[in-house]
């Protein structure tokens, strides 16, 4: 039985890939990029999950240090790397939006079929 976190992540990646293959609008392509990003983040986060016998693990944050010492915690490294990746996703979004605005100005359309012809 595949765990539902993986299934949700695959669904997100799949929606993004489908939009990449079959959609023609540049804005929709950027949205597809972000949806694939979210799916990959969910996949990476769920790799760090930990399942001890019977007990639920907590987030890797010791709020009240002495009371939580020794309790099982989920892996913190995937969370830290996904934190880096989210900011880079925002960077990609900003740069892609800038390129899209310039492409709309140059071609007068957002359809990628009409972007092939070089003009001006």
């Amino acid at each position: 039985m595949i765990p539902f976190q993986f299934i949700t992540a695959f669904l997100l990646i799949f929606m993004g890939l489908y939009a990449f293959l079959y959609k023609r609008n540049l804005i929709k392509l950027i949205l597809a990029l972000n949806i694939i990003d979210a799916g990959i983040h969910l996949l990476l986060i769920s790799f760090g999950y930990r399942l001890e016998d019977g007990t639920l693990p907590t987030a890797p944050i010791y709020t009240g240090y002495e009371t939580l010492k020794g309790t099982p915690m989920v892996g913190p490294i995937p969370q830290a790397l996904v934190l880096t990746s989210i900011v880079i996703g925002v960077c990609i979004l900003a740069l892609a939006m800038a390129l899209t605005i310039n492409a709309y100005r140059h071609y007068g359309s957002l359809d990628i079929n009409k972007l092939r012809r070089l003009r001006g």
Binding site: M1, F10, L21, L51, Y62, A80, L81, I88, A98
Partner: protein, 99 residues
């Protein structure tokens, strides 16, 4: 033809992902006990020693700013470069203003 090829490649990627994620001969979800100590000893080390070595009780912040600080430097550089690139693409150029 193109649509068929796209659908076939989507199905292929789905199959690969399902093989990777199946718990019998792929990645195991939710390690615990001995498996956790064997495969995720780095996470366990950070969880156990992070508070003494760095001082913050939020282990993720400890990793981001101390253990993996070089990642954060590169990421800040990427943020700066991307936003500078976006502004440089969007701002009016002097050549255009003269038109």
């Amino acid at each position: 033809m193109k649509r068929t090829l796209g659908a076939l490649s989507l199905l292929f990627i789905l199959g690969v992902l399902l093989i990777v994620a199946s718990p019998n001969y792929g990645l195991k979800f939710g390690l615990g006990g001995k498996d956790w100590q064997a495969h995720r000893y780095t996470d366990q080390y950070y969880i156990e020693h992070g508070v003494e070595e760095v001082g913050g009780t939020n282990i993720v912040t400890d990793i981001v700013f101390d253990y993996r600080g070089y990642d954060t430097i590169g990421e800040a550089t990427v943020l700066f470069t991307a936003i500078a690139g976006a502004i440089a693409l969007l701002r009016p150029w002097r050549r255009d203003e003269n038109e």
